[in-house]
Amino acid sequence: MNIGILLKEGPYNHQASDTAFKFAEAAIKKGHHVDAVFLYNDGVTNVTKLMDPPQDDRNIAIRWSELSKKHGFEILACIAASKRRGINDDVLVDGGTITGLGTLTDIAIRNDRLVTFGD
């Protein structure tokens, strides 16, 4: 099955990003294809490589980056939402891309499922 993921909240402050990640991992493990993770609202802040959590905590941006590279999907941040929140190409983690809402529409159309995570 082809799955798109829409993530609408930022990291750490809300569990949405953690749940989306665990869901993506489990879907891949079951043999499904994660097509893309699209970030909207405060969700765009999931891709800043500047985040620097304590050593014993998860690094949410790097975790998404590694999963996406390993399984060949993109982490896409909405450009309008990103500009409002100070996310630009200079701070993007490897595997992250800034794009428009048209890309989300394509993701919604071409996949069997679009699964939203928010708060």
Partner: protein
Amino acid sequence: MENENVKKIMHVLRHAPHGTIYTYEGLEMILIMAAYEQDLSVVFIGDGVYALKKGQDTSAIGIKGFSRTFMALDGYDVEKLYVDQRSLEERGLSEDDLIVDVEVMNSEKIGQLMKEQDVVIHH
């Protein structure tokens, strides 16, 4: 005969405007998706009905107003605007309080429409 390449996509607006950005960014998403010729609908539930309230003047809070943008949806061929009847009633509002023409529906009917969708996105 239904076009199998057309997806039923429903946007559910559930937040009041201005207190959070969800309604505004939801509207931005709807306007973009409107260009893709899918079967789009927009449903206003709970505090989402406040997004359509007439007479909003945001000048004193310093945030750009956007309620008039809902009037532009028709021009983008987004014509399926559904409002939950009970959400209106509980808030002491009627159709006359809303800035655009909508179809007021009961929860049962909206629930059935939801179930038919390929994609549902809450804002």
